[in-house]
Assembly symmetry: none
Homo-oligomer: 203 residues x 4
C-alpha cells in the first residue's frame, strides 16, 4: 500500500513556494519548473495537485487574501472603540506587509494586474478582487458609521472615507515596494493615522 498523503497539506505547501516565486519573478515569467524547483518536487508532481499554472495562481491569490483578511479581522476583533479600530487597521496591516520575508507583497502587483485582465474572462469563479475590495471597504465603512453614531467621527461620507483609507494603504504599499529604503512604512502609517484622525474626528 502506498504512502497516504495529506493532499490539502501538500497543496498548501506548494502554494507557499509558488507564492514566493510568483512574488519574485512575477506570474508571467515564472515557469512551472521554477515552482517545482522551489517546492523541491518534480515538474509533473505539481499537476497531481493543480490542474494548471492558472489554478495555482488562483489558489495563491485566495490563500493570500484570506490570510490578509484574517490578520485584520483578528486585530480588530476584541476592540470596541471605532477610533482604535481604525488605528489598528493601519498598524496591523503595516505590520503584516513588513513581516514577510522575501518581498512577498510584490505579488499584490500581479494580483491587481491579473484580476483586471481576468474580469471579463469566460472562466468560472476566477479572481474577484473587486468583491474582496468591496468587502474590505464595507468593513471599514461600518466602523466609520459606528464612530459617527457614537460621536467619535464627524458626519463624513463613510463609504468614500473607507475607500480613501483602503486606498491610502494600498498606495503607500506601492511606494514602499518600489523603494523600501526611501520609504519607512511604519512612520508613514503613524503619520497617516494622525492626518486621517485629525481629518475625521470631532474636535
Amino acid at each position: 500500500m502506498p504512502k497516504k498523503i495529506d493532499k490539502a497539506a501538500k497543496k498548501l505547501e506548494i502554494i507557499k513556494h509558488a507564492m514566493r516565486v510568483f512574488a519574485q519573478k512575477g506570474y508571467a515569467k515564472t515557469k512551472m519548473a521554477d515552482v517545482a524547483l522551489a517546492a523541491k518536487i518534480g515538474k509533473g508532481t505539481i499537476y497531481e495537485y493543480f490542474k494548471s499554472k492558472d489554478e495555482i495562481f488562483n489558489f495563491v491569490f485566495t490563500h493570500f487574501m484570506d490570510s490578509m483578511e484574517t490578520i485584520v479581522a483578528k486585530a480588530i476583533f476584541k476592540l470596541t472603540d471605532p477610533v482604535e479600530k481604525i488605528k489598528t487597521i493601519f498598524t496591523s496591516w503595516a505590520a503584516h506587509i513588513t513581516s514577510h520575508e522575501n518581498d512577498i507583497m510584490e505579488i499584490m502587483l500581479d494580483f491587481w494586474a491579473e484580476a483586471v485582465r481576468k474580469k471579463d474572462d469566460k472562466e468560472i469563479a476566477m479572481i474577484q478582487l473587486d468583491k474582496i475590495y468591496d468587502d474590505f471597504r464595507r468593513i471599514i465603512q461600518s466602523i466609520l458609521e459606528e464612530g459617527i453614531r457614537t460621536g467619535s467621527f464627524k458626519k463624513i461620507d463613510a463609504y468614500y472615507t473607507a475607500s480613501l483609507i483602503l486606498g491610502a494603504m494600498d498606495g503607500m504599499m506601492i511606494q514602499w515596494i518600489l523603494n523600501k529604503e526611501l520609504f519607512d512604512i511604519k512612520k508613514a502609517t503613524e503619520h497617516s493615522i494622525q492626518v486621517f484622525l485629525t481629518g475625521i474626528c470631532v474636535d
Copy 2:
C-alpha cells in the same frame, strides 16, 4: 527633399496604439502582431522604430508618465496658494484618469508590476518608477512645505503627507479600475480633499 518621414512622429503614433493594446490585454499577453494591427502597420515595420517589445514598453511608460506629469504641472503652474495647489493636484489627476477612453489607466497595473521585476535587471535605461514617484512626492512635499511656511498648513511631516496624498490617489485609482460602477472617482476625490485639508490645515 528625399522622402523623409518624421521618425519621432511615427514612433509616437505607434506608442499610442501600443499603449491602448497594453492597457487592454496587459503587456505579457500583448503580441507584437496586436500592436502592428492596432497601428495598422506591418509586423516588421515596428522594428524599424523600436528594437524590441521591451523597448516599446519603456517608451510607452515614459510617454505616459511624462504626460501625467505635464497635466499636473500645467494645472498647478499658475496657482500660488498651496491649498489650491493641493486641491488642484487631486482634481486634475481625477480629471485625467477619467478622461481617457478605453480603460487606458489599466496600464498602470503593468507599470507597477514590471517596474518591480526590472528594478534589479542588468539592462540599462529601464523603467525607474521609483525615481518618478520620488519626484512626484517631492513636488507635493515642497507645496506642503510652502504651505507650512505661509501658515496654511500645520507643522505636519511634509514628506509622509506627500506620500499619503500620492498613495491615496493611486489606491483609489485601483479601486476605480477594479469596479468603475461601484466607485465614483469624482466624488471620492472631492471627499478626500476635504478630509485631507481638514487633517492638515490650520483651523
Copy 3:
C-alpha cells in the same frame, strides 16, 4: 499453500479489460490509468503482470487473434464438405464479429496500423500479423484445393481466391465498423457467399 494467485488468470483478466479500452479509445489514446480503472486495479499493479503498455498490446493482439482462429477452426472442424467449410468460415466469422458488445472489433483497426509500423521494429516477438494472415490464407487455400480435387470447385487459383475471401471479410468489416446502421453484415455475408460460390463452383 501460500497465497498464490493464478498469474495467468489475472493477466487474462487485465487483457480483457485492456482490449475493451483499446477498442474504444484506440491504442495511442489509451492511458495506463484507463486500463487500470477498467480492470479495477491500481496503476502500478499492471506492471506486476506486464512490462509495458506495448506488451499489453501484444498480449491483447495475440489473445484476440487466437480466439479468432479458434472460432473458425471450431466451426469447420467437424465439417467435411469444402463448400460447407467455405460457407461456414463466412458465417462463423460474421457471427463472431457481431457477437461482441462494446464495439470490440474496432481494435482490428489498431492491429493493422500498429502491425505495419512495427514490422521493421528491432524489438522481438512483436506483432506479426502478416504471418497470421498467411496462416489464414493457407487454411482457406487448402480447403479450396480440397474442393478442386473433389470436383466441387473449378480450377481457380486457390491462393488468390483465398486472399480474396479473406480480404472480402476484412473489407466488409471495415464498412460495417464505419457505419453499423447502413450495413447489415449478416445480409452482406450471405450475399457474398452466394456470389463467391457461383463464381468458383462447378456448375
Copy 4:
C-alpha cells in the same frame, strides 16, 4: 514588400510531405518536427498554414481521398459497358495503390483508425470516411444496376455486391500492405475480377 506566397500551393506542398511521414511513422508517432524536416521548413512555419497537427491530418485525408476518387472517376468516365466499368474499377485502383513510392497507402490504416475514433468527436466536419464509403458504394451499385438492366448481370443485390467489391479491394490492400513480397496485387486483382464476373454475370 515581402515575397508574395501562393498559400494554397505551399499548403499542398506541406500536405504532400506530411502524407509521406504519416504513412511511414503513423499519425500518432509523427512529430511536428518530422513534418517540418520533411518539408524542409521551420517548425513554426507549419503553423502559418495549419492550425494544428489534427488539421494537417484532415487535409491529408481529404487530399488523399479526393485523388483516389478522381483516379477511379477518370478511369471509368469514357466507358459505357458496365462489365468494363467494374473491371476498370479494379484495375485502376490496383494501379493507383501500387503507383506510389514510399509505402504511401499505409496511411489508409491510420485513416480507418482515426475516422472511427473521431466519429463521435464534437469537432466540426471532421473526417467522414463513412460518407465517402457510402459514395463509393453507391457508384459501384449504380453500375451494377445498370448492368442488371442491360442484362449483363444477374439479378443480384446491387448494394451488397457493391460493398463486397469495395470490401474485397480494401481487404486485399491490407494483405498487400502487410507483406508486399507474398502478395502480388496485380494477379490478385485479375483473379478477383474473374471470380466476381463469373459470380455475377449472366452465363
